[in-house]
């Protein structure tokens, strides 16, 4: 079997562009962070490699924004270690900033300037200028399909186009790591799918490490690997399929007039564990189709609706935390 990643890195192009970097991973070890009283991150460890799209999934208030701010060098590492492509985040911030492309959740574009002007200013920040910069700008606008809008003011572009310009901006200085905070928020379904296609292409063709945060389960499904955060703790880490495989078999959701009584009755009769979340009874079991048949036959009057499905990442989250996947009361920051 041919290892494509090795092939990529031995091309002359690969050598020319990344000569100094010995490592190609983000390594997070025992990272903790506390605001005055609240523990926002609690002993989080994971690592991500170049060429990979890694999704940090968690409801609002789970600590993912804090983690993002630390990785993007906005906030210092206070406990634990983070190494980005071999550089220590606590001591080598400057070297790391050159390697990072960052897309924030809130617009980082000046709406009153045109697309090209935004990119040009950004290029200057990273020491690009003149012909190199002009060339690079037109190359990226081309790639992200916004060439025809280059001279327009950012404020008149649609949300999806603005996000593409943001990513083009973040990619301008050829970063090796692309960090995105909630990149799909405010986008419609089509724009979301396009975005994840773009990210997939970037990650593979340029061997870039893409790390994004999201609270949308669909976005997480599209990642190569996912880390699930809950209340500052990393509760799961792995490929979406592998995580879903941890949920035993199928997931059945039942709504009834009296969930608690029904739950107890079902648990006794079928010897399964039932969880009460989101006003619904949630049951995990193997051979779900048979279970649905039996349970409906056994409680025909009590059951109002029943849903049977293969496990999703939401089910993984519920199984691991015992909580429904919703916003925590304590808000971020």
């Amino acid at each position: 079997m041919v290892d494509t990643e090795v092939l990529h890195s031995i091309t002359p192009e690969g050598f020319r562009r990344f000569p100094m970097v010995s490592d190609n991973r983000i390594e997070v070890e025992n990272l903790s962070h506390a605001y005055q009283k609240r523990q926002a991150l609690d002993n989080v460890s994971f690592d991500v490699s170049c060429g990979e799209i890694f999704g940090l999934l968690g409801p609002n208030g789970s600590g993912k924004t804090t983690l993002f701010r630390i990785l993007s060098t906005l906030m210092p590492v206070t406990s634990g270690t983070v190494r980005i492509l071999g550089h220590d985040l606590a001591t080598e911030v400057k070297a790391i900033r050159n390697l990072l492309g960052v897309v924030f959740q809130h617009p980082g574009l000046d709406a009153k300037l045109t697309v090209v002007e935004n990119l040009r200013h950004h290029g200057h920040l990273y020491g690009l200028a003149g012909k190199t910069l002009r060339h690079r700008i037109s190359e990226l606008l081309e790639r992200f399909g916004v060439s025809d809008r280059a001279k327009e003011r950012v404020e008149i572009l649609s949300g999806g186009l603005q996000r593409r310009v943001e990513i083009a901006k973040a990619m301008l200085h050829s970063p090796r790591v692309l960090l995105l905070d909630e990149p799909t928020s405010g986008l419609d379904v089509t724009a979301r799918r396009q975005l994840s296609d773009y990210l997939g292409t970037i990650a593979q063709t340029e061997n870039i490490l893409v790390l994004l945060t999201t609270h949308l389960l669909d976005d997480a499904e599209a990642c190569n690997r996912v880390g699930i955060l809950d209340a500052g703790k990393l509760v799961a880490l792995g490929k979406p399929d592998a995580l879903k495989a941890e949920v035993a078999g199928d997931v059945i959701l039942i709504e009834s007039t009296d969930n608690e009584t029904l739950g107890t009755a079902i648990a006794e009769r079928f010897r399964v564990s039932t969880v009460f979340t989101d006003n619904r009874l949630r049951i995990e079991c193997k051979r779900g189709h048979e279970f649905v048949r039996d349970v409906v036959a056994a409680f025909p009057d009590e059951i109002q609706t029943i849903r049977f499905g293969k496990p999703t990442l939401e089910d993984v989250f519920i199984k691991l935390t015992g909580n429904p996947f919703v916003e925590k009361k304590d808000s971020e920051n």
């Binding site: 060098t73 906030m75 924030f104 809130h106 980082g108 000046d110 920040l125």
Partner: protein, 228 residues
């Protein structure tokens, strides 16, 4: 503008600056003060955006770029200075109406002093804005600190004849010297005197320059301390 004419006309009847030449009333006395007020407001308001931009917006992208903080602050300061200076220049066009006659030296010096003042004041604004996490807090500081600084700079009334403690406060106020420097440069080519005694021309310029340096260093240090 309106502020200047209303207050200036209203007070000119009851208030004659000591040592003022005939024909130059309170409106003329008040004129440099109003220019400084415009500089103050424009500079400081230009820095309010830092408060929000730092949390959500444009500034975040700049903060994760490999750019040292002193350059970020310098850019912000020059931006604010430019805005304030443009506003100030508009007002400067009105100088002849209060009997100021410009020669080449006085106009260049006046603009130079305005630029210095605007730069210092923008940095003062940045120094505050980088510490704030809400614009409400910024407005509170404005009212508590900036308006009194202006009122007690000799813009509104001269320090001659005020109670001792007030005279001292005015002496310790850096803007007093900025205003004096501006007054001096405005009246350099005008034979009518510059409204009696105030701080000396060289001292004023020196302290204004020092004010710029200190606020800039302060703003840079604050920005560095508040970010990674």
């Amino acid at each position: 503008m309106v502020f200047w004419l209303l207050i200036g006309s209203g007070l000119s009847a009851s208030f004659q600056p000591t040592g003022a030449a005939n024909g130059t009333g309170y409106i003329a006395y008040f004129y440099p003060g109003i220019v400084v007020l415009v500089l103050l407001f424009t500079s400081i308001f230009a820095t309010i955006s830092v408060v929000n931009d730092r949390r959500e917006g444009f500034l975040q992208s700049i903060l994760v770029a490999p750019v040292p903080r002193w350059r970020v602050v310098m850019a912000q300061a020059l931006g604010g200075t430019t805005l304030a200076l443009l506003q100030g220049l508009l007002l400067l066009l009105l100088a002849p109406t209060v009997g100021i006659r410009f020669g080449a030296t006085s106009i260049l010096l006046s603009i130079g002093v305005m630029a210095l003042l605007a730069f210092g004041l923008t940095n003062l604004g940045l120094l505050i804005a980088w510490r704030m996490d809400s614009t409400q807090g910024f407005h509170a500081i404005m009212n508590l600190l900036l308006i009194p600084i202006w009122l007690l700079s000799g813009a509104f009334f001269p320090s001659t004849g005020v109670p001792g403690w007030l005279a001292w406060t005015m002496k310790l106020n850096p803007l007093t010297y900025g205003l004096a420097a501006f007054r001096h440069s405005l009246y350099l080519d005008t034979t009518a005197n510059a409204f009696g005694e105030g701080p000396l021309w060289t001292l004023s310029l020196l302290i204004t320059g020092l004010f710029c340096v200190l606020t800039y260093v302060g703003a840079t240090l604050t920005a560095s301390a508040q970010t990674n």
